[in-house]
Assembly symmetry: C2
Homo-oligomer: 253 residues x 2
C-alpha cells in the first residue's frame, strides 16, 4: 500500500453535531478556472494575431486576484464585487501587454469567469451529496457570477452565499460567520469543502468542519500542490469520493 | 366568452429589454401558507385537547406579520429575520389564548413555515420557466426558511434573495434594488411574480416588470380576492399559464 493510497479518502469521523450543510469554495475546488480562462482568452485574442501562452495569461490574471481582494479586506477601499476586481485586473494585464480591446470585448472576456467548467467529478458528486446536505457556495465570486456559472454547468446549489452576501472576502471571519448564520446552523453543522488549506484553516477557526479536496491540476500540469500536512476532518480526491465518505453507513446485517 | 376568460392569461407584451430573471414572492404566490400552517397547528395542538378553528389560527398568526415587519421598516427596531418575528408572533398568539407549550414545541411549530406546501401548479411551472430564466426568490422569508422549504418541496430556485440578504423588508425599495443588483441585471430585466398587487406596484416603482398570479384560495375559501384593476405586464392564473405566456413564440412557418 503506497503512501498515496493511505492518504486518499481519509475521514477523521469527528463526533458531535451532525453535518447539515456543505459550504463550497468554488474557484479551483469545483471549477477548473485555469483551463477555462485560457481557452476563452485564446478564442478572443488569437484571431487578433496574438500568440501567447494562454495558461500563463490565465495565471497572470489570477495572480492579481488576492492583492485586489486584500485592498478590500484591509479597508483601503470599500467592498466591490469580484466582477469589478476581475475587470480592473484584466485592464491592468492588457495594459502591461499593450493589448487594446473594445469595451464590449473586455466585458465579454471578463464574463469568462461566469463560464468556467467544472472538474469531471463535480456533477455526479454534487448529485450524490444533494439528498443528504444543503449545498451552498461560500466563494469570493459574486452572486451573478455564481448563478450564471451554476446554470451553465448544472451545479446543484441550494443557495448562493459568500463574499457579496457577507460583504467580506474570505478568509475574513465574517465570510464564514455570515454563511452559517444565514443557513440557520451552528458552524459545527457546516462542512467547508475546499482545495486550499488556508481557506479550510480559516473556516475551522470559525468552528466549521473541514474537507480537503485534492485538485492537482488547478495550476496546470507540472505544478501539482503537495497534499497538506494539516489534519482536516475529511480528505478526498474528488467530490464523488467525498460523497462516499459522508454517506451514512448502513448498519451491518 | 365570459369576463373571466378575457381576464385570464393576459400579456401586455412590453417591448424593450428582454426579461432575464423572474423574482418571486413566495408566501401565498408559490406556497399555500394557510393550509400548511393550519395542518401543522392541528397536529401539534389537537392531541393536547385544544379544539380551534385551525384556519383561523393560521390567519391570526399571519395577521401579526405585517405589523412586526413594520417595526423594522420604520427603524423602531434593527433588522431581525422572519423566523424571529414569527416566533415572537407565535408566543403572543399562544399567550392570548392561554396555550402553554414547551420551548421545543414552540420551535417545532415555528419551523412549520419551513415546511409550507406549494400550490399544485408550482413544480411544473417552475420546471418550464427554469430553462429560460434565472429563478430567484424575492421574499420576506429568511434564507434558511427559503432553503429548507425549497429542498422539501422541490422548488427549483437558482438563488435565494430577499429581505435577509437586502436587510430590508418588502415593499422597501432596497429589497428590490438589492435583488437586481446581485443578479447583475437592470431592474427592467427582472420580472416580479406575485399574487399581491402592492408587492408588484412596489417592484414596478423600482423599474421591475410585473406578473400578477391569481391565488383565490390564499386566505381560504369564501374570501377570494378581486382580480386587481392594475395593469400589470402579465396576468396568469398559475405558473404553468405564466410559463406559456413567457415562452418564446416560434416564428410562423
Amino acid at each position: 500500500m503506497s503512501d498515496e493510497t493511505v492518504l486518499r479518502g481519509s475521514a477523521a469521523r469527528p463526533s458531535g453535531r451532525a453535518i447539515k450543510a456543505l459550504t463550497f469554495d468554488v474557484f479551483g475546488t469545483v471549477v477548473d478556472w485555469r483551463s477555462s480562462i485560457a481557452r476563452e482568452a485564446e478564442v478572443l485574442l488569437a484571431p487578433k494575431g496574438l500568440r501567447l501562452d494562454w495558461g500563463d495569461f490565465a495565471d497572470r490574471w489570477r495572480a492579481l486576484y488576492q492583492p485586489a481582494m486584500q485592498a478590500v479586506r484591509s479597508g483601503e477601499r470599500p467592498f466591490v464585487v469580484l466582477d469589478e476586481l476581475h475587470r480592473e485586473n484584466l485592464l491592468a494585464l492588457l495594459g502591461e501587454r499593450g493589448i487594446v480591446l473594445s469595451g464590449a470585448e473586455v466585458e465579454g472576456l471578463n464574463r469568462a469567469w461566469h463560464r468556467l467548467d467544472p472538474w469531471p467529478d463535480v456533477i455526479e458528486g454534487l448529485g450524490r451529496l444533494k439528498p443528504h446536505f444543503v449545498l451552498a457556495t461560500l466563494s469570493n465570486g459574486n452572486v451573478a457570477l455564481m448563478v450564471n456559472m451554476a446554470r451553465r454547468a448544472g451545479l446543484a446549489w441550494d443557495v448562493i452565499l459568500g463574499a457579496e452576501v457577507a460583504r467580506a472576502y474570505k478568509p475574513e471571519p465574517r465570510a464564514y460567520d455570515c454563511a452559517a448564520l444565514m443557513l440557520g446552523l451552528e458552524p459545527a453543522e457546516c462542512l467547508m469543502v475546499a482545495a486550499h488549506p488556508a481557506d479550510l484553516r480559516a473556516a475551522a477557526a470559525r468552528g466549521f468542519r473541514t474537507a480537503y479536496v485534492h485538485r492537482p491540476l488547478e495550476n496546470g500540469s507540472g505544478r501539482e500542490p503537495q497534499r497538506p500536512p494539516d489534519a482536516f476532518d475529511y480528505c478526498a480526491d474528488d467530490l464523488i469520493e467525498l460523497a462516499g465518505l459522508l454517506e451514512p453507513r448502513r448498519p451491518e446485517v
